[in-house]
Subunit: 247 residues, 2 copies
């Protein structure tokens, strides 16, 4: 599909699609010989995701990060969006009742505190931040993604392979004790790799926290357990032990 068709279909402007292309948020799968942008069905699905997130108040930069995460799961995203929309609806209901109260108040039939006059507005200018940062935006993940983006495809591939190798060797140990020398050696390497590959230095506490996240956050669990069911839990335990014993 050409730009205008897409734009008309979803009700956004051509310029918007150009913009999304510019910032690398949605690049058309093909371009014709003449340089025309040609969008595929898969592009449309991504666009749907983008618009949903946008509706929820996410800035484009964050949306880009989210949908580019290796562990991005469309169904989970959709469920999250659904949930947030439901909350938003409740929010609107609150505003409606605030309006009703205000009208009553104007007619003098009821009293109203200043605080009540603004109920429904208390999304302190970051509508998405509350739960979103928990679920979709860990600082570390953000930074590592940024780092990832700055690497060439080749570098990314090399790094990915290095990390996969580590995952595999850890997976092999996952039914042994996370406190064994072998496991701890592997986890130490894991710690070193994380610290050297991404632009950040994990404190031991943060490292421990990260391990906890591996089991708390389904998305991580899912992508880690690909290397062996139970790996995420094993890593959490090993990481916690490592952190506690190297202070």
């Amino acid at each position: 599909m050409k730009v205008k068709e897409v734009a008309d279909l979803v009700g956004i402007s051509v310029r918007t699609l150009h913009h999304y292309d510019e910032i690398g948020l949605l690049k058309p799968e093909q371009t014709s010989e003449a340089g025309y942008r040609l969008y595929s069905d898969h592009n449309l699905e991504m666009l749907q995701q983008i618009l949903f997130f946008k509706e929820l108040g996410f800035p484009l930069k964050k949306i880009k990060e989210i949908i580019n995460r290796p562990c991005f799961d469309r169904e989970e995203a959709l469920k999250f969006q659904r949930k947030t929309l439901v909350e938003k609806r409740a929010h609107i209901d609150k505003m409606i009742s605030t309006i009703d109260k205000t009208i009553e108040h104007m007619k003098g039939s009821i009293e109203m505190t200043n605080k009540e006059k603004f109920e429904g507005f208390d999304f302190s200018h970051n509508p998405y931040e509350q739960e979103a940062r928990e679920r979709w935006g860990d600082e570390a993940v953000d930074k590592s993604n940024a780092k990832l983006a700055s690497m060439t495809k080749e570098e990314q591939k090399v790094m990915q392979e290095e990390m996969n190798a580590l995952y595999r060797s850890l997976a092999a140990l996952r039914h042994t004790s996370p406190e064994s020398d072998e496991a701890q050696a592997a986890i130490k390497k894991w710690y070193t790799v994380l610290n050297s590959n991404f632009g950040i230095h994990y404190s031991l506490e943060a490292f421990k926290g990260l391990g906890q996240m591996y089991v708390d956050d389904e998305r991580f669990t899912k992508s880690i357990d690909q290397f062996g069911v139970g790996l995420a839990k094993f890593m959490r335990d090993a990481m916690a032990y490592y952190a506690d014993n190297n202070k």
Copy 2:
């Protein structure tokens, strides 16, 4: 109340209040000796209005125009906002059902057209424009308000008085024929005053349309009929006759 108190109460930033002051959208009723902004309860009510309109997607410039309109009626505004919020809720419901469908679709249990994938998004990047322009944004009103804003208080007062005088003399005639020489003379003056006082020239057709608006748009009707019940209708008829007979 000082800025930060207000900001905290309604959940917006201090900068936002500064901004609203800068652009003349919400000027604090008082300023302390030291130059501190001091907001009154009335300011808070206005702020509530502003935030409601903002929630509905109105640009600040438009909001400023709306709440500065001489015929601005808070209760009517609140009812409009309520109605629009209800629509917005329906909109969200549509998006939720789109998400549900998409999830079903992913699982392969149902088919889905490209169009269906974007239902709920079709607010062609001007959520408010549709009905809003009808109800809140006549081009002429906009322009005249802009003109009004550029006038000094004194000039405004003089002009207002001139127009009121005309309203009164028209009101006196409202039970006679709108086609009489007297009525037509008064209407001619009305036409001249409108054309000279505001930055625009009404064509005869537009003038006729304006008359129609006086009865179609409650807000106009209300503020006009203050000078005498039925004046709006009388003016519409007189204006139509004037327009038709001076081509």
